[in-house]
C-alpha cells in the first residue's frame, strides 16, 4: 500500500492511456475459420505433423459444438452473437524477429513496450524479471533465457517449445484443459498462435519472477494464446501475466488457455493483472475475454495459487481453477474484479478436491460501479475419496452508485462427510458516511473512493508480487474514473 493518493488521482484523470496503435507490417491470413486456415497457421509456424493433427481434431470438435449447442449461455453476461467467420485468426509482425538479441526486434514494437512501461532494455538490466513478450500472436523477445537455462529452467514461446521440447509438450498439452472442455477451449486448441511455455526441473527454485505481457494490436484479430507451465517435483515458480490492448471500435475476442501442472511438492504461483480495453462509457468496443485457466495439483503436497486483478475487458468470462488430485495438495484463488461503465464480468473459480487432506482457499472481491455487472461464480467440489478436505471461501461485493449490480453464485457439492467447509459472503455499498469521513479530513471525493476500494482489496493485493501490487492499485484508480459524482 505504498503508492500515494496523488498517483491515483493523476491516473484517475487519464483516459485509457494505452490506446495507441503500432504501425508494423503484418502478415495476416484471410478471415474465417476452416481446416485450410488451421493448416495455414500450422504451416506458417513450421509445426510438426502431430501438432497439426491435434489442432484439426480440436477444430472438428469445435464445429460439432458450434452446431449442437453454440457458445455457453449459462454465464450472467449479455452480448450479441460472435461471427466466428468474421475473425482473422493469425496475425504476425512480418519482420519476424529472432530471439537472441533485442536489436533485431522491430523498433516500433520496442517503442510500444516502452509506452506500456515495460521497456525490455531496462528490464534486461533490472535483475529479477524475465519477460516473454507476446505481440499479437508471435513471441518477439525472450530475455534472461541464458540465466534460466543454466538452472535447467525452460522459459520460451510456445512455438519454440513445440520445436525444441516436443516430448514435454506432447506429454502435458491438453492434459488439464482438453480441447473437449468447453467451446472456447476447443477454439483455442484449433487456432492458438503462440504463448508461453515453462518447465522447472526437479528441485529447482526458479530464481526470478517469470513475466509475460500480452498485447492485442491489429484490428479484428482474435488473440488465442496458450500457456503451459510444468513444475516438476519439489520445484517452485512464480509467473506474472499482464495484459493491455489499444482502443478499437469493434469487439475483439480473446480466448486463451492456461494449463498448470504441479508434481509432488511443487508450487506454482500465477498472478494476472488484466487491463484489456473495456469499451467506452456507452459500452462500445472492448475485449471479450473468454479464458480457460486451470491447474492440476497432480503430486502430493503440491500447491497452485491463482491471483488475479481484472479491471479491463468489456466482458470477462474466466474461472481459474484447481484440480487437487495429489494428497495434501493446496489450491488458492485470490481475485479482484472491477466493472465500471458497461463492463460485465462473470468470474470465479473451481476447486475440485480429489485427494485426501486437500485444502483450498477462495477470496473474491468484486467491485461494481457505473452500470457494471459483476458476478462471482464458484464451485467447490469434494469427491468421495477426499477425506478431511477443507475449503474456506470469502466472497465480498462492493457497490459504487445505484445502477450497478453484484451477483453471487456459489456451488458447493460435498460427497465426503469428513469435509470442512466455510463460506462467508458480504455485499456492501460505499457508504455516504465513509466518504464524508474521508472528505472531512481533506481528501477529494475520487481519492476517497480509491482509498476505500484499495482497502477493500487489501487481502488480495498482498498476495501479488510487490511491483504488481502497486500497478494494480493504480489500475483501480484509473478504472474507477468518473464513478463518483
Amino acid at each position: 500500500m505504498s503508492s500515494t493518493v496523488d498517483t491515483i488521482r493523476d491516473l484517475a484523470r487519464q483516459d485509457y492511456k494505452w490506446g495507441f496503435v503500432t504501425e508494423v507490417d503484418e502478415d495476416r491470413v484471410p478471415k474465417g475459420l476452416n481446416e485450410d486456415i488451421v493448416r495455414l497457421i500450422s504451416a506458417r509456424k513450421g509445426e510438426p505433423e502431430w501438432m497439426l493433427e491435434w489442432r484439426l481434431n480440436a477444430l472438428r470438435h469445435w464445429f460439432q459444438m458450434a452446431r449442437e449447442q453454440g457458445e455457453p449461455k449459462w454465464a450472467n453476461v449479455k452480448f450479441p452473437p460472435v461471427d466466428y467467420q468474421d475473425i482473422v485468426y493469425y496475425s504476425a509482425p512480418k519482420k519476424k524477429p529472432t530471439i537472441e538479441s533485442l536489436d533485431q526486434v522491430d523498433p516500433e514494437i520496442v517503442k510500444t513496450y516502452e509506452k506500456l512501461g515495460i521497456p525490455l532494455e531496462e528490464r534486461k538490466r533490472l535483475a529479477g524479471v524475465a519477460v516473454d513478450a507476446v505481440f499479437d500472436s508471435v513471441s518477439v523477445a525472450t530475455t534472461f533465457k541464458d540465466k534460466l537455462a543454466e538452472m535447467g529452467v525452460i522459459f520460451c514461446s510456445f512455438s519454440e517449445a513445440v520445436k525444441n521440447h516436443p516430448g514435454l509438450v506432447k506429454k502435458y498439452l491438453g492434459s488439464v484443459v482438453p480441447h473437449t472442455d468447453n467451446f472456447y477451449a476447443a477454439l483455442n486448441a484449433a487456432v492458438f498462435t503462440d504463448g508461453s511455455f515453462v518447465y522447472v526441473p526437479k528441485g529447482v527454485r526458479c530464481p526470478m519472477e517469470l513475466s509475460t505481457y500480452f498485447r492485442i494490436n491489429a484490428a479484428e484479430t482474435g488473440q488465442f494464446e496458450r500457456t503451459l507451465i510444468v513444475a516438476d517435483e519439489g520445484s517452485h515458480v512464480s509467473y506474472l501475466e499482464g495484459c493491455t490492448a489499444p482502443i478499437r471500435d469493434t469487439n475483439q475476442l480473446h480466448a486463451a488457455v492456461v494449463e498448470l501442472i504441479a508434481l509432488d511438492n511443487a508450487q506454482i504461483k500465477y498472478s494476472t493483472v488484466q487491463n484489456w480495453y473495456p469499451g467506452d462509457k456507452e459500452g462500445r468496443g472492448g475485449i471479450y475475454n473468454f479464458v480457460t485457466k486451470r491447474g492440476k495439483c497432480a503430486g502430493r503436497n503440491s500447491k497452485i495459487s491463482w491471483t488475479q486483478v481484472e479491471t479491463g475487458s468489456a466482458i470477462t468470462w474466466k474461472y481459474p481453477s484447481c484440480i487437487l488430485q495429489g494428497d495434501g495438495s493446496v489450491g488458492e484463488f485470490y481475485s479482484v474484479a472491477l466493472t465500471n461503465n458497461r463492463q460485465q464480468a462473470d468470474t470465479g473459480t473451481k476447486m475440485i478436491h480429489i485427494g485426501k487432506n486437500t485444502r483450498s482457499t477462495i477470496v473474491s472481491k468484486g467491485i461494481s460501479a457505473g452500470h457494471g455487472q459483476n458476478t462471482y461464480r464458484g464451485q467447490v467440489k469434494i469427491l468421495k475419496g477426499a477425506t478431511n478436505a477443507r475449503n474456506y471461501t470469502q466472497c465480498d461485493s462492493l457497490l459504487i452508485g445505484d445502477k450497478c449490480g453484484a451477483h453471487t453464485f456459489p456451488y458447493i457439492d460435498v460427497r465426503n462427510s469428513t469435509a470442512k467447509m466455510e463460506h462467508e459472503a458480504s455485499t456492501s455499498k460505499i457508504g455516504e458516511d465513509q466518504l464524508f469521513y474521508l472528505r472531512q479530513r481533506g481528501l477529494k471525493a475520487e481519492d476517497a473512493v480509491s482509498m476505500i476500494v484499495n482497502g477493500f482489496c487489501k487481502t488480495v493485493f498482498k498476495e501479488l508480487p510487490m511491483e504488481f501490487a502497486v500497478e494494480a492499485q493504480k489500475l483501480l484508480g484509473v478504472s474507477l474514473e468518473g464513478s463518483v459524482g
Binding site: 500515494t4 481533506g442 484499495n454
Partner: protein, 256 residues
C-alpha cells in the same frame, strides 16, 4: 475579523427544519461550548459546518475567516481549517491509520501550496502525538477505526486533530461513551492543542466534559436556536437545574 461568523442559520434534514436561526460568533483562541437537550440541533450544527450534504441549508450565512463556508465542499472546508471530531467515527477496513492520516495531511498541505510530507517527516511527529494520547505504536498499522473500542475511536479522533492542526475544531459529543480515564486523556489532548490561532466548538450534553476542557463561553441550543449564552458558570447552573429552565425561557421568548 471573527474566525467563524454564523448568521440566522436555518437547516433541514429530509425536509424537516432542525436549525431555526442560529447566530454565533467565534474568535480565534476561544473555546465555545454548545449544550442542549437531545434533538435540539447540536449535531446538525456541527454537520452543517463540516458541509455534510445530507443537511440542507435553507437560510442564513456562515463565514470562515471571511470566506463563504456554505459554498465549500467538505474537503475544501477541511483544507480551510475545519475539523470535525465525529461522535461515531467511521471504520475504513484495509487502510492503515498512518497511511490515511499522512494522505489527509498531504491533501491539506497541497491545498496550501506546501510540499508533501514523506514518511520520515511524518512518523516522528505522529509518534510524539500518540504518546500524548497514550496510544500504542502498534496502532499505526491497524486499519482506521476497525475493531477499535469506543474510547480508542475517540482518542484516534483527537490524535487526528492534533496532527491536522485545524483552525476550527468541532468536537461532537466526544465525551459520549468515554470512561473517566479516557475522558481525562482526550481532554489532555484537546487542552494541549489550545492556542491563540485555534478555536474550539465543544458540543456536549453533559457538563462533565467542561470540568476538563474549560470553555470561555457556553451556549444553550434549544429547538434549533441559541436560547441562552454565558460564561462557564452557565454550564454549572444547567447541571443543577437541567435544560428545563432554558427551554421554558425559549418558549417564553417565542410567545412574547
Amino acid at each position: 475579523m471573527a474566525l467563524l461568523e454564523i448568521k440566522d442559520l436555518h437547516a433541514s434534514v429530509d425536509g424537516q427544519e432542525i436549525l431555526k436561526g442560529v447566530n454565533l460568533t467565534v474568535n480565534a483562541g476561544e473555546v465555545h461550548s454548545i449544550m442542549g437537550p437531545n434533538g435540539s440541533g447540536k449535531s446538525t450544527l456541527s454537520a452543517v459546518l463540516a458541509r455534510r450534504a445530507t443537511y440542507e441549508v435553507t437560510g442564513g450565512s456562515v463565514l470562515l475567516n471571511g470566506k463563504d463556508l456554505l459554498a465549500m465542499e467538505p474537503e475544501e472546508a477541511a483544507c480551510e481549517g475545519v475539523f470535525l471530531a465525529f461522535q461515531y467515527p467511521v471504520e475504513i477496513p484495509g487502510i492503515g491509520n498512518a497511511y490515511f492520516l499522512r494522505s489527509a495531511m498531504n491533501a491539506i498541505r497541497k491545498h496550501h501550496g506546501q510540499d508533501e510530507l514523506d514518511a520520515m517527516d511524518f512518523l516522528p511527529l505522529y509518534k510524539e502525538r500518540m504518546k500524548l494520547l497514550e496510544i500504542d505504536e502498534k496502532f499505526m498499522s491497524r486499519s482506521v477505526n476497525e475493531g477499535f473500542s469506543g474510547g480508542e475511536k475517540k482518542r484516534n479522533e483527537i490524535l487526528q486533530l492534533a496532527m491536522l492542526e485545524p483552525k476550527l475544531a468541532i468536537l461532537d459529543e466526544t465525551d459520549s461513551g468515554l470512561d473517566i480515564d479516557a475522558l481525562r486523556i482526550v481532554s489532555r489532548g484537546v487542552n494541549a492543542m489550545r492556542g491563540p490561532d485555534r478555536a474550539f466548538l465543544v458540543i456536549t450534553h453533559y457538563q462533565r466534559l467542561l470540568d476538563y476542557i474549560k470553555p470561555d463561553f457556553v451556549h444553550v441550543l434549544v429547538d434549533g436556536k441559541i436560547a441562552r449564552s454565558g460564561g462557564p458558570e452557565l454550564a454549572i447552573e444547567l447541571e443543577k437545574t437541567g435544560y428545563g429552565s432554558a427551554e421554558a425561557e425559549a418558549l417564553q421568548a417565542q410567545h412574547a
